[in-house]
Symmetry: D2
Subunit: 156 residues, 4 copies
Amino acid sequence: MSQDYIKTSEMLNSLRVFFEENIPFNKVLGLQVVSLDMENICIRIDMKESLIGNPVKKILHGGVISSVLDVTGGIVAMAGVVEQMEGRSIEDVSRRLLKIGTIDLRIDYLRPGEGEYFLATGTIMRTGQKVSVVRMQFHNDKERLIAAGTGTYIIG
Amino acid sequence: MSQDYIKTSEMLNSLRVFFEENIPFNKVLGLQVVSLDMENICIRIDMKESLIGNPVKKILHGGVISSVLDVTGGIVAMAGVVEQMEGRSIEDVSRRLLKIGTIDLRIDYLRPGEGEYFLATGTIMRTGQKVSVVRMQFHNDKERLIAAGTGTYIIG
Amino acid sequence: MSQDYIKTSEMLNSLRVFFEENIPFNKVLGLQVVSLDMENICIRIDMKESLIGNPVKKILHGGVISSVLDVTGGIVAMAGVVEQMEGRSIEDVSRRLLKIGTIDLRIDYLRPGEGEYFLATGTIMRTGQKVSVVRMQFHNDKERLIAAGTGTYIIG
Amino acid sequence: MSQDYIKTSEMLNSLRVFFEENIPFNKVLGLQVVSLDMENICIRIDMKESLIGNPVKKILHGGVISSVLDVTGGIVAMAGVVEQMEGRSIEDVSRRLLKIGTIDLRIDYLRPGEGEYFLATGTIMRTGQKVSVVRMQFHNDKERLIAAGTGTYIIG
């Protein structure tokens, strides 16, 4: 196993810890990073009372869905940068990751947010030198597509 | 003061109470309806630790911003329906309001979410029979534009 | 072969003729419907001088791309309605198709529009009673993804 | 009148000529730059047979609207860069303008595109070092708002 490969997986692992434990609003959401490697990025949240947006229908608040999809897209954009910078020092990569931010976001709300848990995934559509574009999906525990999104992220 | 006018303002007041007190995730956000009449709709949130998205820069999580703008656009769309249905029974109006939901949302993140409090406003661009389109703004306590958005809402 | 199936394929065929021959701006674009059945919808345009947006780089105008993706999403939404109404009279289906229109559109420009020809495809994400959401892709003759989009269409 | 001011207005004037005369698809649209200075940017197109999208209702093709709004937003972003670089050489400014491109675009279709002519305007929401965000409007000859849009442009 090469030194670079170790660095990449270590970098992704520290990203995971950072997103789950160091960002206060992610803890409010109960955001869990289920998998985070170059091939597969998956974020999970569990339904709980505080995330409800419609007290009659007991469904997720739309803002919970947009929050999770924004984070998911950001992590996918970050993983793309980590891959692009393979072999560079951890300091260089960290400095670049700190500059990443959402430029804009589109969310399509397709079905009511019903379920006991939800999984968000994302696919990179373009990693440039300055901007990445990611498409995201948000499924419930019955594998129904609840929402979809597209995010544009500044990466350099 | 006409009976209809009373109904409209009462309807808007009960909307205010509903959004502030009955929606669990709005309470997590600390969402306050500062004003809600036909001319002026303004939503406020105060900065607090749990809403932070970047622990180094101490700025709002992007998901907080998208959540507040989605709610703001929804309330603006609802007020448009209340106005459109002036003179109809409170039951008719309530039934219609319950069907309102976000179809899609675009958020533009323009500047870092720094401030002690934030105000969100919205302007209706179109109220049709089926769909409303609203443009939203999110300013900080220095009146700097932090984010802008556009939401499409199903209203009938 | 059932009577209904004949109606569906006939309906789709007349849609094809309508989009290629009866819409003036589609003729300006040189829009061709390569395939239009329930499983596969594909639109083609060929590069020509009049569609250029950058005279130095000789690439497609962004507006050509957004135009083709809007039409593609509209046809996908229409095919979804035709499928939903299988077995209904051609008059009912036609009346419903005439009401279909774009509510909003997001286009992501991913790479320069270089190529001799381009293919646009779309996938329906949701067909409701009132609104359909479609994701579209725009590839060049080297199968490179040039642009992607999401469209929301009013369908009833 | 300062030398720099002359340069700025000259630069904007050559932009106007470039957009009207050197871009083939803009000529297909019949795009006219009505005004282009730092305070006011206005683009006009006239209705003509070839721009029609619905042969029964005789209204503009949605792609014409998205094309004009994309160009309008791009010109507003360019003017922002010209202002930002006031006092720099024409070569520096030109080199920077050549790099400007649309990252993504949202269009909201609010009303049917009926009219004898149409005017598009735009307001810059943010000019950063790398990205500009512009909101655009598209009105008809009766000053009715036909469509609105938001564009994100790479500027450096």
